[in-house]
Amino acid sequence: MGHLLEVNDLEVKFALRFGDLTAINGISFTLDKKEKLGLVGESGAGKSVTGFAIINLLSKPGYISGGKILFEGQELNKFSDEEIRKIRGNRISMIFQDPMMTLNPVLTICTQMIETVRAHQDVSKADAIDLAIEKLRKVYIPSPEKRLYQYPHECSGGMRQRIVIAIAMLTNPGLIIADEPSTALDVTIQAGIMDLLLELCETEDMGLILITHDLAVVSQVTEKISVMYAGKIVETGPTDNIINNPQHPYTKGLIKAIPGSLEAGSRLNQIPGMMPTLTDIPQGCAFHPRCEFSRPICETESPVPVSVNDHKQTIACHVLEKNLS
C-alpha cells in the first residue's frame, strides 16, 4: 500500500507572452492517512499553487509542466477534466482562506450543501439534507436545522469557516487541503478551527495539507513541515526537528524572525531583502542574495535536496552540505 498522496518532482508553469514562468520548480512530498503536513512559506513562495495543482484547479495560463501527482494510486495529473471532477470536491476537498468568498452569498447554506452532495452522490434531497445536518453538527454548529436555511451573511466569520469545513466533509474525503484556513479569523476563533481540523483528521481518517505562512500555527497542528521558497521546497522534516533544529538558513531566519521566541524588546533577526518575484528568480540557489552564508557555488548551481541530521530532515543547500561531510 503506497502513500495517500505522493507528489513527485512537480513543476508548474504559467505560459505568458514573453515565455513561461516557473512557479513550482520540482517539488516532492508524500502524505499518509491521518497525517498532517504543513506547507509553509511567505507570500509568493508557491504554496497555494501547489495546492491548486494537486486538484488540477490551476486556471489558465497555469499548467502542470512536469512531475507526477499520485493520489490513492491514481495519477491525477493524467486525468481529464471529466475524471478530475469526480475526485475534486469528493475524495479531495479544499478549504480556502476567506469563507465569505468561498460561500455563495445569494444561496442558502442548505442549497450549497445539497448541491455538493448531489454532484457526487445519487441521493434524494431529503437524504442530502439529513447528511448536511449531520455534518454541520460535526463541526459544532449550534442548532444546525435552523442554520441550514440561513444565508452566509447571517453567520459570523468563524461560523462561516465551520460551514465551509462541513461542506468539505460532506463526501467523506480522504484528503483535505486547507489554504490559510484561519488567517482571516481572530485568535480565539482560529484556535477553535484548528482543534476542529485536527479532530476531524483523527475521526474521519483524513490526510491534511495545511498551507499557511504562520509557523506557530503549523508547529502545533502538523507532524511534518515543508518550507517553501521561490517555488521550491528548501527544507522538509518532522515538525519538532524543523522548529527546534532548523538546518536551512532560510528556515533558521524565518523562525528567528518570529517575535516571542526572543527576549522582549531585543532586535528581531531579520532576513535582508525580500522574496524574488517569478520573473527574476536568481541563478543557482534562489535564496543566495539574502543568505548570510552564501558562497560562489550558490550563485551558479542549484542545490539538490540531501538528508541531514540523521536522515531526519532534507534540505536543499550547498553550504550545510559541505559543513556536514
Partner: protein, 336 residues
C-alpha cells in the same frame, strides 16, 4: 491624578456611531404607533487610560473591539461623544481644527495597509514633502529635500527612488515609506494601527526593528495597535486588552503575559499559537463576540465568561488597580 507628566491621558472616552440611516429607515410600527428608533454602534464605552512619555502601549483585542476607533478618536479624526483627551496636560478634544494644528504635528499615525494609505498618484517625494510643507510654511525647498532624503535613509529606502510611485515598491518598502511619512514632521507620539499585520514574517521583523530603532533615536512614544499578541509581547512596555469597546485589563507586558487576571485575557492568551508548543489547551469561550449595537448589560463579557455570577450581568465592573500597575475590570479576577 495629575495629567502633567503623562504624555496622553484619556478620561471616560465614549464614541458611538449612528447607523440608523435616513428618517424613513428609523421608523417602525409597534402597537399601532409609529416609533422612531436610532441604532448606534457602541464602539468605545468609557475608556480611560494614560500613556507615559517614551513608552509603548500595546492595545490588543479581536476585530470589532474598538482598537482602531480608539486610535482615530485620540487623534481627533473622530469627534468623541463624551470624555476628555489631554495631551501633555492640555485638553485637546475641544480644540478647533486651527488650534489642533500644532498637536497634529506632534501626533502621527501609521496605518495597516500600505497599499491603501499611500496615494498611488503621488511620488514618494511628494508624499513625504507634503506634511513638511504643511506644518512649516516658511521652510525652503532645499531644507525639505534634505529632510526627505534624511528620513528615507532612516527607514532604509534609497533616496534615489524618491521619484517613484508606490506601486513600484513591495509591501514592506511601502510600509517603510508610510513610517517615513509619519517621521518627517518629527512627531513625539505615533499611533501605529496594525503596522505589520499585512506583511510576511521576515518583512515584519524588519519593520518591527525599524520601529524600535526610530523610538530609540527620536524618543518616540507609541500606541501600538495589533491583534497579534506575539508582536505586542515583543514591542510593548504595557498592554491594554480591549473587549467590546472597553478595557478589561491593563498591565505591564510581562505581568500581563505571566499572570493574566481577567477571564477574557486568559482565554485570549491561551489561544495564541506558540512555536513548538504542542500540548496547548486553550480555554474555549462560550458563543461569539456580541454585536456592539446591543451591548450586554453589566460586564460586557459576562455572557461568555466561565465564571460569571449574578452581579456580572447587573453591574459594570470598574477598571481598578490591584497592585503594581495591574488594572483589571472584573468582579472576580482570581476565579479559577
Amino acid at each position: 491624578m495629575s495629567t502633567i507628566n503623562r504624555l496622553l491621558t484619556i478620561k471616560n472616552l465614549v464614541k458611538h456611531f449612528d447607523i440608523s440611516g435616513g428618517l424613513l429607515d428609523q421608523l417602525t410600527i409597534e402597537n399601532r404607533h409609529i416609533i422612531r428608533k436610532r441604532t448606534t454602534v457602541k464602539a468605545l464605552n468609557d475608556i480611560s487610560l494614560s500613556i507615559m512619555p517614551r513608552e509603548t502601549l500595546g492595545i490588543v483585542g479581536e476585530s470589532g473591539c474598538g482598537k482602531s476607533t480608539l486610535a482615530r478618536t485620540v487623534l481627533g479624526l473622530y469627534p468623541p461623544n463624551s470624555g476628555e483627551i489631554y495631551y501633555q496636560g492640555k485638553r485637546i478634544d475641544t480644540l478647533t481644527s486651527q488650534e489642533m494644528l500644532p498637536y497634529r504635528k506632534k501626533m502621527q499615525m501609521i496605518f495597516q495597509d500600505p497599499y491603501a494609505s499611500l496615494n498611488p498618484r503621488m511620488t514618494v517625494k511628494r508624499t513625504l514633502e507634503e506634511p513638511v510643507y504643511f506644518h512649516n510654511k516658511s521652510i525652503t525647498s532645499q531644507e525639505v529635500e534634505e529632510k526627505v532624503a534624511d528620513v528615507m535613509k532612516q527607514v532604509g529606502v534609497d533616496p534615489k527612488w524618491s521619484d517613484r510611485y508606490p506601486h513600484e515598491f513591495s509591501g514592506g518598502q511601502r510600509q517603510r515609506i508610510s513610517i517615513a511619512r509619519a517621521l518627517t514632521v518629527n512627531p513625539e507620539f505615533v499611533i501605529a494601527d496594525e503596522p505589520v499585520s499585512a506583511l510576511d514574517v521576515s518583512i515584519q521583523a524588519q519593520i518591527l526593528n525599524l520601529l524600535m530603532d526610530a523610538q530609540e533615536n527620536h524618543g518616540l512614544t507609541y500606541m501600538f495597535i495589533t491583534h497579534d499578541l506575539a508582536v505586542v509581547k515583543h514591542i510593548s512596555s504595557r498592554v491594554a486588552v480591549m473587549y467590546l469597546g472597553m478595557i478589561c485589563e491593563l498591565a505591564p507586558t510581562r505581568e500581563l503575559f505571566e499572570s493574566p487576571r481577567h477571564p477574557y485575557t486568559r482565554a485570549l492568551l491561551s489561544a495564541i499559537p506558540e512555536l513548538g508548543k504542542r500540548d496547548y489547551k486553550h480555554i474555549k469561550l462560550k458563543g461569539e463576540v456580541p454585536t456592539p449595537i446591543y451591548l450586554p448589560s453589566g460586564c460586557v463579557f459576562h455572557g461568555r465568561c466561565l465564571y460569571a455570577r449574578d452581579i456580572c450581568s447587573q453591574e459594570i465592573p470598574p477598571l481598578e488597580e490591584s497592585d503594581n500597575n495591574h488594572h483589571v475590570a472584573c468582579f472576580f479576577p482570581e476565579a479559577e
